[in-house]
């Protein structure tokens, strides 16, 4: 019985410490976009393109987590689209998500045809990350670069959400 409890405890603690064990990876932008970039369901979508190797991206990640916390009850979805390299997913991305206890939805985009899909995200985007798209139905805004503060993100979010 004691052993049983111990193993339950171990299992639970393992589950708690390793919330992230696998991720959906899209090798076609269009398939990812269909799922997240082009919804019209009354929700406000916040889509952030990032990678663990990108310093400014990692720095602003807590703002997106905060946004999720503040608005998840209010028809809002936050999706972090990781551009991490496939061979770094197990060694870097998953440990990062677990270490920082990331609550937002995370997907991997691994479409090598960047010359085509970057324009689909936004014509003005040159390809440097991070960038963020916030949309609800037809209302849409593209933010090129990082957010300096949570307030900046919140303000932009509300301009679409309200």
């Amino acid at each position: 019985m004691k052993d049983f409890l111990l193993s339950v405890f171990l299992l639970l603690s393992l589950a708690a410490s390793a919330q992230w064990t696998k991720l959906t990876s899209y090798d076609k932008y269009d398939e990812m976009a269909q799922e997240y970039m082009d919804r019209d369901d009354g929700y406000t979508y916040v889509i952030n393109y990032w990678a663990t190797w990108c310093g400014p991206c990692v720095k602003e990640l807590p703002y997106f987590e905060q946004l999720l916390k503040d608005y998840s009850h209010d028809k809002t979805k936050v999706i972090l689209v990781s551009l991490d390299f496939p061979k770094k997913v197990d060694s870097k991305l998953l440990p990062f998500l677990n270490k920082h206890n990331i609550q937002s939805e995370v997907v991997i985009l691994d479409d090598p045809k960047s010359n085509i899909w970057i324009d689909k995200v936004d014509l003005s985007w040159e390809g440097a990350i991070p960038v963020t798209i916030i949309y609800r139905g037809e209302k849409r805004v593209f933010w090129d670069g990082e957010f300096d503060t949570y307030e900046d993100l919140d303000k932009l979010f509300l301009s679409i959400h309200n």
């Binding site: 190797w53 045809k113 960047s114 010359n115 324009d119 040159e126 390809g127 440097a128 991070p130």
Partner: protein
Amino acid sequence: MSQFLLVLFSLVMPFTSSNEVGDPYTVGDKVEDFNLKSVDGNMYSLSSAKNVKGYIVVFTCNHCPYAVMYEDRMNDLNAFANKNDFALFAINPNDPNKVPEDGFAEMQVRAKEKGFEFPYMMDEGQKVYPKWGATKTPHAYVLDANMVIQYIGAIDNSPRDAAAATINYVEKAARSILLGETPAITKTKAIGCSIKTM
């Protein structure tokens, strides 16, 4: 007082942000020559390359994984340039105060490790990259003999796997210039690291 400063700031900001460098270059623009210090300690300009048929300029750096993935291909590109009377220049646009890994001494180390035989220069004071409109590393430009930009964008179409590249955009543009033609592809996009400023 703080309101006064705010008003002053908002009056000044639009001017500083838009007039500081003018519109960045685009395809068809003739560039102003630069004069930057390379890892060998010498200053280089486009015009320091004599009797060339064109120029390749790549904004790149030490720290960005996408730039790192192209390091060996930069050597290949230099071999291509030498063979075809082009001159290759690499410029690190990042502020080393923001990214210590992109400091001048660190550039020297990397250039030696990778055996770079082309100038790898620091954009001291970050004055060059805004004029060129570079937004990331790597960001490549191909210019004709008159220093007119003919191509802006990625080096090839497969950042992560050199062997899987089916189009080398930079070489393709250079070959068009050699033939006296306008490149068929003049702009491409690729993922990269933003240019780091304080």
